[in-house]
Symmetry: C2
Subunit: 494 residues, 2 copies
């Protein structure tokens, strides 16, 4: 089924409706927002079969993966709803008046309020969890913002079904008209019109660097620049420290062959580069990893465009000077399948050639061979900002290599010890975000309830009487939220 | 005394030193950072006489104002030091492992870490509190970031003295070389070089829209864009509601004549526009305000450039179509003095003419006469983003005019009831920041300890053993900070 691109006039009408809805929805209580989000979760659950079947037909993703992703999406909606209602994200601060001070200190109370309509771009690799009813939408609704989703054209029908679930929940919960808008668009004009519209106040995006950076640039060229949260992926470096590698080369090879090829390598946390010291332990690791990868079957990629890009980027990566192909899957690929591939290069080639720093979206990883720890540190310092960095190390490795550990920590948003970067837990402590170019704003996360704060800004109320204040800031603390009163964190009343 | 502009080569050397210092300073404990900040406060206090005398000679500000500002600067350093050490700003979150989950949930712990070297531009109107050792510097040091200050050329000698105080404290506290750098520059090249340098990771600025927007644009044109916190001022609208005005026209006139002319109107929170309903109460208010303003003596402005700009902007504002000059000070101005001035225009002129929305930096305010409440709402909706908005109202006024109150709230960072916008308390609940163009990032404040968070980003530690974690995240909570453990806020150990 084909959908028509929204016209400029349609987008203008939609955004104006969102703007109207914003002025209503932001007055809804935390409880009402939470109930709405939970109603969306229920609708998704009630329509799970149809959603999964439709997504299977559009994305080539297997049923178990999609069912898991839908479960995750429902969990996100429910858990962010709870976090939204619990209210710690509001960062409520109260300083009571000191009339005897000279000049008198007024009563001041601060909390986060919603920023305005949020445009969300669906992600190709997560048709549920980072698309229509995904993490960005859940965070924006929890913050009190209406949402405008641009469906990803590669799963527009799935997006349409998820949008229906949201609109059905909106009707049941008596949400204002315009609380949620679903827009189709295959060309870049639709995206540009959405970002440039005066009523748009923030943007959420998960996808390629080219796409995310373009949205960021448009947003900054507006008369009123707005925040853009583009999660643009990374190559997620893995540093193999010597003692650990000596002890566990086989175990690490097994862990990593799975991580590199999980979901045909189509995760933004895929480990795309592995850095080790050139010695016999690394040779052993390479040989084990290679023999494992030869037995991994190629998998069908999300859509033909992504399969084509993988073919091109993989060929390009492998033909670079001093890059050696270590092993490829020995199972014949079918159409649109990605071939699991391991390559290798010396650190000197990495320093010289920025192509080796780039993501190859798919089941691909390159091993960088360093002459010594100093070269490993240099690799860390030369890497761009990353969503994750991983260190495989014994305690002794860590204690002996503080400069390396510090350099690796400095470039990432999530810092993993003895694990794999794939698998992003939905919990408050998660940081899914990192220094540029992995995202456009390293100060925020796109996974976990802290993501709500992306779509809010603080406002201070000065000298307002108790009955005129929002419930969140009233003396009696009727919502029973945590607040900092005169520098003390408490749930007590004023 | 004249200072030479820093050369490109000097800036490069300085920033590289800052970058080195960053890797050391971020490992310093919260306690060490706090002690350093308090040592700066002590140095400033010990050199108060010389600092105030020098600032008097450079800025035309009177002694009492400068002494008050220095006291405020010392308070900022001490109170942000305490807040930094208390550690709530770290937003520590811990989710413990659930090995039985499928797949197993790893232990994840998150906290804010410093973002990197911060470039701070001194403000012309606050030689102490928003300059060399001012709020941005204090926040950056508390966050764990080295600071590079570009002195404001209008008080370069004062800035030099404050820098000496910081460097002297740095030496006493054994801070790493490069923790603080002081740079002079009168041309825009120095500012551009500082913002564009790869080692710069954030920028703090207080000043004009043209200056702040330019820094923002440069920062977004970098290979790696960085956050810019430009506080660019606003016209701080004041809405006079009818019942309140009927009751208290005289009292409001007295409050506002002081606020408009305080420090020769040279505050970014100066009330530059007052909106009321065209009726006899407003006429009474205008007549009282006018008779007050005629008796206020002109004051010498910060420097000849600002005095010249006030003359030009004031003349330009007064010559606009339908703008009526209501009253000016009847005391003859001396050279470089700003003449207290009140003008008036109908709402229709405000809607038509964007010049009437612009800040006239100095002792100037314009009264907008509206035919009805609907016009007042339209004025609110047509105003750009503001640091503050004020409503003068009885409880009845507020309850009867919800659409107006909501519209006014939506455009500002601080929302005042029955007060004046001038006077910015230094406390945690303060929001000094607001929607664009009052600042470039409405999500942060430049006053109060929440400003520390501007210069930090989250990092999640996954699967690290207790002894390898930073103290902030260790099981035993050795720093006794508030942390959210498995979604519960607590000071308990894990």
């Amino acid at each position: 089924m084909a959908f028509q691109d929204a016209t400029t006039a349609e987008i203008d009408i939609s955004l104006k409706k969102s703007w109207q809805a914003f002025h209503e929805y932001r007055k809804y209580s935390l409880k009402q927002r939470s109930s709405f989000m939970k109603a969306i979760a229920t609708e998704l659950n009630d329509n799970a079969k149809k959603l999964v079947a439709t997504a299977m037909s559009e994305t080539n993703l297997p049923e178990a993966r999609l069912q898991g992703e839908l479960t995750r999406t429902i969990f996100q909606l429910n858990s962010y709803a709870d976090a939204g209602e619990q209210g710690s994200w509001l960062e409520a601060r109260i300083d009571t008046a000191i009339p005897t001070k000279s000049p008198p200190k007024p009563d001041i109370r601060k909390m986060l309020v919603p920023i305005g309509p949020v445009v969300v771009f669906g992600a190709s690799n997560f048709p549920f969890a980072y698309s229509t009813a995904g993490g960005d939408t859940a965070c924006a609704l929890a913050a009190g913002c209406p949402v405008i989703v641009k469906a990803h054209p590669a799963h527009a029908q799935t997006s349409e079904l998820a949008a229906q679930a949201i609109l059905s929940a909106a009707e049941k919960c008596k949400m204002p008209a315009g609380i949620f808008t679903h827009i189709h668009g295959s060309g870049f004009e639709v995206g540009k019109n959405l970002v440039m519209h005066a009523c748009t106040k923030a943007v959420g995006f998960t996808g390629s660097f080219a796409g995310g950076k373009q949205l960021f640039d448009w947003a900054n060229q507006r008369k009123e620049p707005i925040p853009v949260f583009s999660e643009m992926g990374s190559i997620n470096p893995v540093f193999l420290l010597p003692e650990k590698l000596k002890q566990s080369a086989g175990e690490i090879a097994k862990m990593y062959v799975s991580s590199i090829t999980l979901s045909v390598g189509q995760f933004c946390t895929n480990p795309g580069i592995i850095i080790g010291l050139e010695n016999e332990d690394l040779e052993k690791f390479i040989s084990l990893l290679s023999s494992e990868i030869r037995n991994i079957a190629p998998g069908t990629m999300l859509h033909p465009g992504i399969a084509k890009a993988f073919v091109e980027k993989r060929i390009n990566a492998l033909k670079q000077e001093n890059v050696e192909t270590l092993a490829v899957s020995e199972i014949e690929p079918k159409e649109n399948q990605g071939i699991p591939t391991i390559a290798s290069a010396p650190a000197a080639a990495f320093f010289k050639n920025p192509v080796l720093h780039q993501e190859v979206f798919g089941p691909y990883s390159i091993i960088i061979r360093c002459k010594n720890i100093e070269e490993m540190i240099e690799v860390a310092k030369n890497l761009e900002g990353q969503l994750t960095s991983t260190i495989m190390a014994t305690e002794n490795d860590i204690l002996q290599n503080e400069p390396l550990v510090e350099a690796v920590k400095n470039i990432c948003g999530r810092f993993i010890l003895n694990g794999v970067p794939t698998g992003v837990e939905v919990c408050l402590s998660m940081q899914h975000g990192g220094p540029y170019p992995s995202t456009t704003d390293s100060r925020y996360t796109s996974v976990g309830a802290d993501g709500i704060k992306r779509f809010a800004r603080p406002i201070a109320f000065q000298n307002w009487t108790d009955n005129l204040l929002p419930d969140e800031l009233k003396n009696s603390n009727p919502l029973n939220i945590w607040r900092t009163i005169n520098n003390e964190l408490t749930k007590e009343k004023v």
